[in-house]
């Protein structure tokens, strides 16, 4: 665990994707089975630890440390898990045996008595020699997983304390973050699988294809990845197939594309779903619904799963339909993030799949076939299985030219989407000759969303970036004017500008700094002096966390307005109007614009 914790620690600081892959692959190379398999499970989110409440962690540290010192430390560090990991009393130095694992304190020049095993002060200092000896050995991750899988609620405090006794500072931090669900190291399941691929000759997509049906500690996967074993086979009749994702289309890309090579569909504002149905070894059909990340969400949608009658794998959008009309995402949300569902809820919020692709039909894998051929198979499959109106076809949107498609995207209601137009968030473009590829290949599929919103705001603070940008001020906090004539921050953006623009902004920040707060610089922002930036964003929500009362979704710097004096930047009331204004919020009738993230995945 200490080695895995050291990896997590490095990953938490490493901003580069390639750097992360190298770190993980290096760990896999130097860590034996099954330890590395449990690590892979933790990185891909396949492990679910029984959650420990912060209250329990406070209780454990309270029993072991002076309350004044804990309060001062927590106040200084600002993070409970980290404070506890650092403060957790270590075994007395004198009683530690020599060990291959480096201990927190090495040799010392000071030849004085070390803290005695039983000091006058009661709490927190003593620990038996047995525990100290145990601490010198590393604790396997599998032992931690085993402990958390098999213990009862009452055993939690003692089990957790015993584990913490055996780990070093980083190990304790990682364990506490894992079990409180607060581990944020910027590693996706895809990235971890890419690191597995880096062990040998296989492509990351090949790992994705065998992944479904595998379980920790993945020994057969590592054997195959390292060229030592056969390709793992899944025994699940209806496994998840990795989904194909699209790239956002920029206006500048459009002219380079040939409209005749593409087909267009509406981009529905629901959640991506994969429905897989096939006969098992006993001849009975198994039906599963997966989120786009492969999470099995069938349990939350039994009404839908039971209605499906085809044999194959269909890709589509999960929506709520009432009287044939697609409901808003807010309505759909009532059914998300549930493990089970009541009959009342199913009646009130009937789930539906609007299908746009087929990956497997009657046992035949169609993923290598071009989109057009798959489309024909999909149409045939749906017309052969009416499915009580639970499954229908997402229509194609005909367009002779990009201008025509732009018109359809701007006004879906008048271009075939009819009453469902409010659930359309743009159009999807798919090359007619494209195979169904896992991941996010660039070129075959594009999403072309409806125009984002934008405001002119004033740059207020800038912070240095990471990696290649570590000497550049590349993270920007910007604000708009209040009625009182003050600037109030409304968001933070760290992309959208070109490299040349980054250099210009960096120069501006360095020359116009009025205040420094650690790595953050405050730049001049008066009515006459400052930099106006055009900020594009996808949505706005009310937020009590921010002084402006607003939170922006997906903000980015669209343009630098060197020409514009700060006084002419937008006002807070303009943004507030956008929240209230239906014309800006056609897809979100309530106060919320933009999609909420959910574990079930987003589009």
């Amino acid at each position: 665990m200490n080695r895995f914790a050291a990896l997590l620690d490095r990953l938490a600081y490493e901003p580069r994707r390639n750097g992360k892959i190298r770190l993980i692959a290096d760990y896999f190379r130097h860590t034996p089975d099954p330890e590395r398999g449990w690590a892979l499970a933790a990185l891909t989110g396949a492990l679910s630890f029984r959650n420990a409440k912060p209250g329990l962690i406070r209780q454990l540290i309270g029993e072991r440390t002076d309350p004044v010192l804990f309060a001062l430390s927590y106040d200084y560090v600002g993070d409970l898990s980290e404070t506890v990991a650092l403060m957790w009393p270590a075994p007395p130095l004198a009683s530690l045996p020599p060990s291959p694992n480096p201990l927190p304190h090495g040799e010392r020049a000071l030849d004085v008595e070390q803290p005695a095993p039983s000091p006058p002060r009661g709490e927190g200092w003593g620990e038996g020699d047995g525990a100290a000896a145990q601490r010198a050995r590393d604790l396997p991750l599998s032992a931690i997983v085993h402990a958390f899988t098999h213990m009862g609620r009452a055993e939690m405090p003692a089990t957790l304390a015993a584990l913490l006794d055996r780990l070093d500072e980083t190990g304790r931090w990682a364990l506490l973050k894992l079990i409180t669900g607060g581990l944020r190291i910027g590693v996706s399941a895809r990235l971890a699988k890419t690191a597995v691929a880096a062990l040998g000759e296989h492509a990351p997509d090949a790992i994705e294809l065998v992944w479904p049906g595998l379980a920790p500690p993945y020994e057969e996967l590592f054997a195959w990845a390292e060229g030592r074993g056969p390709k793992p086979e899944t025994e699940d009749p209806a496994p998840f197939r990795p989904v194909m994702l699209s790239h956002p289309l920029e206006e500048a890309d459009v002219d380079k594309l040939d409209p005749a090579a593409f087909r267009a569909e509406w981009k529905w504002d629901g959640i991506r779903v994969q429905a897989a149905r096939a006969a098992g070894p006993d001849g009975r059909h198994v039906t599963r619904l997966y989120s786009r990340t492969g999470e099995d969400i069938s349990g939350a949608f039994p009404d839908l799963a039971e209605a499906l009658a085809f044999d194959g794998v269909v890709d589509g959008e999960l929506l709520i339909l009432r009287e044939g009309r697609v409901q808003s995402f807010n309505v759909l949300q009532q059914r998300l993030n549930r493990k089970t569902v009541s009959a009342k809820l199913m009646l009130e919020f009937p789930a539906h799949i609007r299908a746009y692709d087929v990956l497997v039909a009657a046992g035949e894998d169609l993923r290598e076939q071009p989109f057009e051929a798959r489309r024909a198979r999909l149409e045939a499959l749906i017309s052969a299985h009416p499915t009580e109106g639970r499954l229908d076809l997402s229509p194609l949107v005909p367009f002779p030219s990009w201008d025509d498609l732009a018109a359809a995207r701007a006004d879906p209601a008048a271009h075939g989407a009819g009453a469902d137009a409010e659930a359309v968030e743009g159009v999807m473009l798919k090359r007619a000759d494209s195979a169904y590829l896992p991941g996010r290949p660039k070129g075959p599929w594009w999403k072309w969303k409806r125009d984002p919103h934008s405001v002119d705001a004033v740059l207020m603070y800038a912070q240095r970036g990471h990696g290649k940008r570590s000497s550049y001020y590349s993270d920007y906090t910007f604000g708009v004017w209040t009625e009182a004539g003050e600037l109030v921050p409304v968001g933070k953006a760290y992309f959208g500008f070109t490299d040349a623009e980054l250099i210009e902004i960096d120069r501006f920040v360095r020359r116009h700094t009025v205040n420094r707060f650690g790595p953050v610089r405050e730049v001049v922002h008066t009515p006459t002096e400052g930099l106006v930036v055009e900020v594009a964003f996808e949505g706005l929500a009310r937020s009590t966390r921010h002084r402006s009362g607003l939170a922006m979704r997906f903000p980015r710097i669209a343009r630098l307005r060197w020409d514009k004096p700060p006084l002419e930047a937008d006002r807070l009331e303009t943004l507030e109007k956008m929240i209230g204004d239906e014309s800006h919020a056609p897809r979100r009738p309530t106060a919320v614009l933009g999609k909420q993230r959910s574990p079930a995945g987003e589009m």
Partner: protein, 354 residues
Amino acid sequence: MRPEELLHTTPQGLYSPAGDFFIDPTRPVARALITHGHSDHARAGHGSVLATQQTLDIMAIRYGEAFAGTVQAADYGARIEVNGGGVTFHPAGHILGSAQIALEWRGCTIVASGDYKPGADPTALPFAPVPCHVFISEATFGLPVFRHPAPAIEIAKLMESLALFPERAHLVGAYALGKAQRVMALLRAAGHDRPILLHGAMEKLTDYYRTQGIDLGETRPARDASPAERAGAVVLCPPGALADVWSRRFPDPVTAFASGWMRIRARARQNGVELPLILSDHADWDELQVAIRATGCEELWVTHGQEDALVHWATQEGLRARPLHMVGYGEEEGEAAAPDAPAPDAPAAPEVAP
């Protein structure tokens, strides 16, 4: 005599009425005793300065030969008579030439320890506890969250990263006096034998360490290094240079920072550090306690840092303890890892991009 008659605080720093001198004064005074060469303790412009020869040498390198009216070198362990009392310098283990200063007047002994560390350091004489009535301690890392790992563990992190990213320069932010040379010595001890590239601000002091018999291996000015020499090299620079335009000459570097502050994740992240190295020249929480106990003192005065926690601990230990609330110390080394950098009133990115 009461300890306060021997030493008390003034706006200029610690002052001894009995001996009529200051210790590490923050403004120019007539007579100054200097514990070590860091600029928050050793300032130019005093009338006369008493310090170890190495501290005097370092001050001359940094401020020029005329940094004080007159200077006198103090040997470790040699008692110097001043106005009827005794002043003795003892090793503090902080950096080259660093000293604790023991004052003895009419049976009362006070030790002003300056900055100190009991841990091993190949570039400084080891800390020696001095029996005293009053011990004056800093508390830079005076919280139980600060337990410095063994230096070898931290250097191993750097060595592992060099092996994993052999094409990238590793920029290590380290304070130019003391920390930089200690990092070099630790790297050599770990078997790193490539030339180490230095920021211009470190060259003179590093050369001085060599004249004192400390082997730091081959170093070269970073500005003269070819792109091939920069790839996979360790480059030492002052912490401020990590984010400076200076660092742009290294394409895609790994940014490391050697400091005790790196123990706290938020501090490391605030500084844009990708490879935090927890390496400190100050005593950690356990070492503060061990050092204070080893002096056998009855009373503890705490100069700067996390005074509250250390005073709380000492009181529970049965010592008389009080903070001196001294300002002006801990600034030079803390510069890039400003311990109390307030975040501006700026909203965090409300949501992750899809």
